[in-house]
Amino acid sequence: MTEATTNAGPPRLEVASQSKLIWWAFRKHKLAMAGLIVVAILYVIAAMPGFFAINDPSAQNARTPFHPPEAIHLWSDDGFVGPHFVPSKLKRDPDTLAAIYVPEPEKAVRLVLFGHGYSYRLFGLIETDRHLFASSDPKQPFFPFGTDRLGRCVWSRIMQGAQTSLSIGLVGVALSLIIGVILGGISGYFGGRIDFAIQRVVEFVLALPTIPIWLALAAALPQDWPATLQYMMITIILSLTGWAHLARVVRGRFLSLRTEEFVSAARLDGCSEGRIIFRHMLPSFMSHIIASITLAIPAMILAETSLSFLGLGLQPPTISWGVLLREAQNVRSIATAPWLFAPGGAVVLAVMALNLLGDGLRDAADPYNK
């Protein structure tokens, strides 16, 4: 709310809107703030993974399988030279066939901020080859998180996977939300028989064992569907079981709000049902809903990972964190290429950040309760 009046600077608290108060309450929550920052960064990455990637995430490289992570150096033997890395050359152990990399310090390659790399479409629209940073020598790719068995850059794949995994959470929750809010709202607002019927349905859905249902549904997905369609179906499957919880939350809020006096007051003011719901009731539990969905997103991300682990989720060449982890999910990765578990770190980071954020939001959602 802007200060539209001529009043000479009322104390800011007094003209602070609800959302501002929530923000202030939220800001006090240090861990939640940290979570917010991480989530913000992650979603920026998810919005334009190409920019943050260094190498083409799908590009295989015969010369770099299982390349270990490379460090960024600032100083060489000659003193400070700016950010660079030391490339290395592949040799194979003749007996074990293990990849061995021999560093070639004399070939140190500069890293360029906003440099040129492979070309991609920013937001799927603008063709560009600018990246946050890039190797100055296109023949010497830089692998901050190493590579997988096909020499693909793990860092870049994580960036690309962020788009899939994070948006699956978001889209899935959005779907749950739409179903949940509509059904929960109808149930809570109208009550009576409709409420009874919807509540039975919700109970039924909640009684469904999620994992087998997920498994069965995911297994039922025709795998010849294009990646995007498959992706949509997976999100729908995940949200199919998620909406019931949200519907319960929404209904509960509706029921309690219905008895709030300001809602009665709005009715007496002559507001229509629609106006009561959308102008008066909905904003009041929006913060709770936001908190609930923030807490639901990480569950979806984990669910996607688990489904992928069981081989039922998204399939390569689609890149998601779950797909990446599935590829890493074996003893040889632990033993010889532990960096392949970096997507696990990304999952943990994202889920933790989202949980912290949701937790903080939930605490801050009711600024008057403090």
Binding site: A207, A216, V331, N355
Partner: protein, 328 residues
């Protein structure tokens, strides 16, 4: 109360029909059927089954029949003979297969539950009572980490560490010599020896979320006036904490029993697969993947029944534990 139970039980019947039908449909949804899966699985090892034999299998399992007829036959068998059908893959009655796995599943789940509660409740209480202290922040961070880490990842890493670094045998629940041995104390000891890793892994995420729930519940209760009353009575902090707010904050946990029973089978599925546990979970997964219809159907039906029974039981327990619900 009895009326309530009766009504709930009555309501379960159509729900179970719906679930079983849904399960049946879901299992049939994937392209192909058990036989194509079977043939393809063999092909993965470059093994070939005679085409005639495959056709014969399909005919024998009645896979060519319309789905409704198959469902009707199945459900009729359950209702009339208590016969859940025969597993395509194992040629064994489904009932035997399912129940055989349940004892160990139960052991594992209960151990996990005990471990989860034993770890989570004290920490949750600590975290709530010492709200916004260093300890709380540490606990909070750890519990969020526990919530965030995918269990299969943790399982594999822990397993690797245990095997390669400590040389412990982690897969399965028994050492070889005890696997089919009769129950003795030595076998129990062996079981406990094997149980801890899966229990820890399974308990991690449960513990983390339980800590969060306990903390939130307790924080709600800690500011209630009855706590002040108890304090004004001269009770020690610990005693009053345990007797009043903790006691009341525990009530919501009773409703988690609803999820406990179905978790027996499905909750540990991913971890059980990684850790190679002889619980029902891997069998369920296999049956789903192999489209072993009656076996998978029986599992899904069982889990749903358990969920419904669980929620009924938890409602009853909640009523017993909370006089407000019982008497109103």
């Amino acid at each position: 109360m009895l009326r309530f139970i009766f009504k709930r039980v009555l309501w379960m019947i159509p729900a179970l029909f719906a679930v079983s039908f849904l399960a049946f449909v879901l299992i049939q949804l994937p392209p192909g059927d058990f036989v194509t899966n079977y043939v393809a699985t063999l092909a993965a090892s470059n093994e070939i089954i005679d085409q005639n034999a495959a056709d014969a299998l399909r005919e024998r399992f009645g896979l060519g029949e319309p789905m409704l007829l198959q469902y009707g036959k199945w459900i009729w068998g359950i209702l009339v003979h208590g016969d859940f059908g025969t597993s395509f893959e194992w040629q064994q009655p489904v009932g035997d297969l399912v129940w055989e796995r349940m004892a160990l599943t139960l052991t594992l789940t209960l151990s996990t539950l005990v471990a989860t509660w034993a770890i989570a409740l004290p920490i949750g209480i600590f975290s709530a009572v010492r709200k916004y202290t260093i300890g709380d922040y540490i606990v909070t961070s750890i519990s969020f980490f526990g919530l965030a880490i995918p269990s299969f990842l943790l399982a594999l890493v822990l397993m690797y560490i245990a095997v390669v670094i400590f040389g412990q045998d982690v897969s399965g629940l028994f050492s070889d010599e005890y696997q089919n041995a009769p129950w003795t104390w030595a076998k129990v000891a062996d079981l406990i020896h094997h149980l801890w890793i899966p229990v820890i892994i399974l308990a991690v995420s449960g513990t983390a979320s339980l800590i969060r729930v306990m903390r939130a519940n307790l924080l709600d209760e800690l500011n209630k006036p009855y706590v002040t009353t108890a304090r004004a009575k001269g009770l020690s902090e610990f005693r009053l904490l345990m007797k009043y707010p903790v006691r009341i904050a525990l009530n919501p946990f009773i409703s988690t029993i609803a999820w406990l029973l179905p978790n027996l089978v499905s909750g540990s599925i991913v971890v059980a697969v990684v850790l190679n546990l002889p619980t029902a979970a891997p069998l369920l997964l296999q049956s789903l993947l192999a489209q072993d219809m009656y076996l998978a159907g029986a599992f899904v039906l069982l889990i749903c029944t358990l969920t419904l029974i669980g929620s009924l039981v938890s409602d009853i327990l909640l009523a017993i534990a909370d006089p407000r619900i019982r008497l109103e």
